[in-house]
Subunit: 318 residues, 2 copies
């Protein structure tokens, strides 16, 4: 028995076959190379078809960087042009036929993956804070993932944490504009502009090419813009962690995502900041750690939802 | 058949008898008059004994301004001196004997009351934001109140919404120090001190006597400190409302509590501020309204938990 797991990101696709024991037996990682709209759907089908040539899957789980309409299986993925209402379920069924398919938001998959095979194992109250290009949270309450009334819950990129409001937060929300991969690069550019006569490392890179990795590097080198930016971002990461702890009183908070990989060296500083702000009883009851699965959390989560689907099919009354 | 409901506040006590139809047939409202510790417990017993003289209650529900230990029935209520670990369940049982008793945090009771008899009826995803002396939220997720791993969830008074951290937030948290009844008075005093040569209304009142009601009054009169303070508080109220909407994707958000009664005239301004910050899909799916039950939300919630207890007792398998 095996299952097929798919983790679609904004810029890359991962697909894997899990065996009955929940281990990955084959895996493909491949960049989207600027594909958009229907071309992304076709790319997913082609990649999966390759895996299914050699493995017979009994269920399929898909993690997507956006919101899933539970009724229609259509996906809104803001970072994939043309995926405002993409009929992913319908498309994938062309390949998989009668095999059951589950699609979930990436933040849901992150926390499910980490609970299945990572550091959140055994916990019913757990939060995965994902900082990549964007920022979001997979939040588990009493063992169930928080989705909200219409599947949009966990959108922490929209948290406001410094007034007054500015129009620049309109497109992606305050926190994402300040403390995601996208936000760090943007924030550093703003800080560089404000610093009169700045000739440091970030001024040597064409502005449109600056990424969060450059800013992290500038920070390491003692660059004033890099330091000023990252110090503020660490404050925001600490505040949002504290705020989620005060609201949810969780047992564990995990950090993951493409930016939090390189940024995990700041974990101690983030925890120090978190301790200042959080509800004093809740902060004593929570572990704050980096994700065990790292960039594979979404793939494992996609695997888990496929296994759950199979379990449900085989034991319809549980 | 009737039930006894008790709503303990930081400065007053309410108790009521509900009939089988869920209507209040008798009610007592009485100030604590500075009582502390065990004297508060005895006061509760005496008040209830009066109601029980004429009504036979089959279950008791109690709302407390703090955190309840579910196992021991002990209560931590920060605004009642001597209630660090008060054995309320044990005390109340001296009066009620074998009658089942449920004790819940006030924020839990607010949302349960409003779902039972107020504007949250029919909703499974609902949030009650209570602004009184303190600030907290009763949050309903999939029809169940969010309590967190150890019953401390919903502590939104601790939300950080403006860096940098300051030591003055240590005792009650950022949001409570800025936007609760306590916080509004304190914030206005700080703003008055910062305003050189201020001789307005708030400068005429002895500093230790200033309450949030004076600040609201000063705002009404166009006093610059009142205006500056309330305008910022409205921003914070909007931000926290937006943040909860972005995290929970709820169907309805209700405002209540002792300060939100007089402040409900700001509802439109709060909603305007909320719309700026919130996740754009979730904000379109939510109603933002004032509580229907107002200051009685806690009493109705206490009634509801007593009815639930009775229901459970009569139908143990449901």
């Amino acid at each position: 028995m095996s299952i097929l797991a798919i983790d679609l990101g904004g810029t890359k696709l991962a697909a894997a076959i899990f065996n009955e024991q929940g281990n990955i037996v084959e895996e493909i990682n491949i960049p989207l190379n600027g594909r958009e709209g229907k071309a992304v759907g076709e790319f997913i089908l082609k990649t999966c078809a390759e895996l299914l040539k050699e493995h017979k899957a009994e269920a399929v789980g898909i993690s997507v960087p956006g919101i899933v309409n539970e009724k229609t299986g259509k996906v809104w993925a803001p970072n994939i042009p043309g995926w405002e209402d993409y009929p992913l379920l319908e498309e994938i069924k062309k390949l998989t036929g009668d095999i059951p398919v589950a699609i979930e938001a990436d933040r849901t998959c992150y926390i499910l993956g980490e609970q299945w095979k990572g550091k959140a194992a055994g916990y019913d109250h757990a939060i995965f804070i994902a900082v990549g290009t964007g920022i979001g949270a997979g939040i588990m309450v009493e063992g169930r993932v928080l989705k909200g009334a219409n599947g949009v819950g966990g959108a922490i990129g929209w948290l406001g944490m410094q007034k007054p409001y500015d129009e620049k937060f309109r497109e992606r929300g305050f926190l994402e504009t300040r403390a995601s991969g996208y936000g760090i690069a943007r924030f550093a550019k703003e800080n560089a502009e404000k610093r009169y006569g700045y000739t440091g490392m970030l001024s040597q890179i064409p502005e449109e090419d600056i990424t969060s990795h450059h800013v992290l590097q500038a920070y390491e080198q003692g660059d004033p813009v890099g330091r000023d930016t990252l110090n503020q971002v660490i404050e925001y990461w600490g505040m949002v962690t504290a705020n989620l702890i005060s609201i949810f009183n969780p047992q564990i908070v995990l950090f993951g995502g493409g930016v939090f990989g390189p940024a995990v060296k700041f974990l101690d500083e983030i925890i120090q900041e978190t301790k200042k702000w959080a509800q004093p009883v809740s902060i004593k009851q929570v572990e704050i750690v980096s994700s065990r699965l790292g960039l594979k959390a979404g793939l494992f989560g996609a695997g888990k939802i496929a296994f759950d689907l199979l379990e449900q099919k085989n034991n319809p009354n549980t």
